[in-house]
Amino acid sequence: MSQKISLKDAELKVFTSVFQDGLWDILIGCFLLQFAIGPFLSRSLGDFWSSVVFLPFFAAVFLVIWLVKKHVIAPRVGIVEFGAWRKTRMIRFNLVILLALTVAFVLGILSMVQFDSIPGWIHTARFSLIFLTVFCIAAYSLNFTRLYLYGILVALSPVIGELLYVYLKAPHHGYPITFGISAGLIILTGLVLLVRFLQDHPIPMNQPVTGEMIE
């Protein structure tokens, strides 16, 4: 036996196999699209409604991804229910993300209240830091290494957008350009991974799709 048997590695292999299909990447990319498209809508709809209008869009994206997962991915790779250790870790992860989002929400409220008294770059820095923190927590907790890269990409988006606004007078603080590029890159990565995944994992032909036992 040339490899050391590690139960931790085995569990990790099982868990990370969930992220190989690129669907998470597409979901994250679609979520980020709101920061690229939202500014165009905020002038006509206002800040609140320009965000609310994305809810049906997110619902549609979730529905499509769920259907793809159920009808396209599951027949190829099967279904697994994770053990207690992973479930506990996921609960902890959800709590940490909830805490990070609460902090982000509070900072957002503070920014609105003190908008004029705080320099613009502080708002941008907060925005970037929140993105980076949430993505890094998610990457670490889920052992999903691409999220570190996405975190950096997304954290740079407001900073570069602000620079484009200051030096090139880019509209809407440059967000449509920078977040559009970031979201596009992430969605494209997801699509490439999905296509490769489908090519590498054809539906098994010599046995029923759902894994019926040979007796």
Binding site: I5, L7, E11, S17, P75, V80, G211, E212
Partner: protein, 109 residues
Amino acid sequence: MTEQQTDQDKLHPLADIDQVIHAPARLMVLTYLYVVESADFVFLRHLTGMTWGNLSTHLSKLEEAGYVTIEKGFKGKKPHTMIRLTKQGRDAFRGYKQSMQQVLDDLPD
């Protein structure tokens, strides 16, 4: 106690190794089942890279030994097979792990 008997005693853990688990393919299947709650046939095949027939044969042996339960059901109109490690299987795997560690740790470098 003779020298031969002492050698036999030293090698005794090897004789205790569970032969059902010791086969590489079954060890791989049990390792994956040990770290999850349950998995279906397709998932195990995807992870282990075994053929349908091969995996099915090994699972049957594990089921005979009482180490796994195989639940056949339906998802919609399609048949679906879930495999789960039993308590006996979990204990046996733990015991196997300890026995192997003991045997390997006692070997000289």
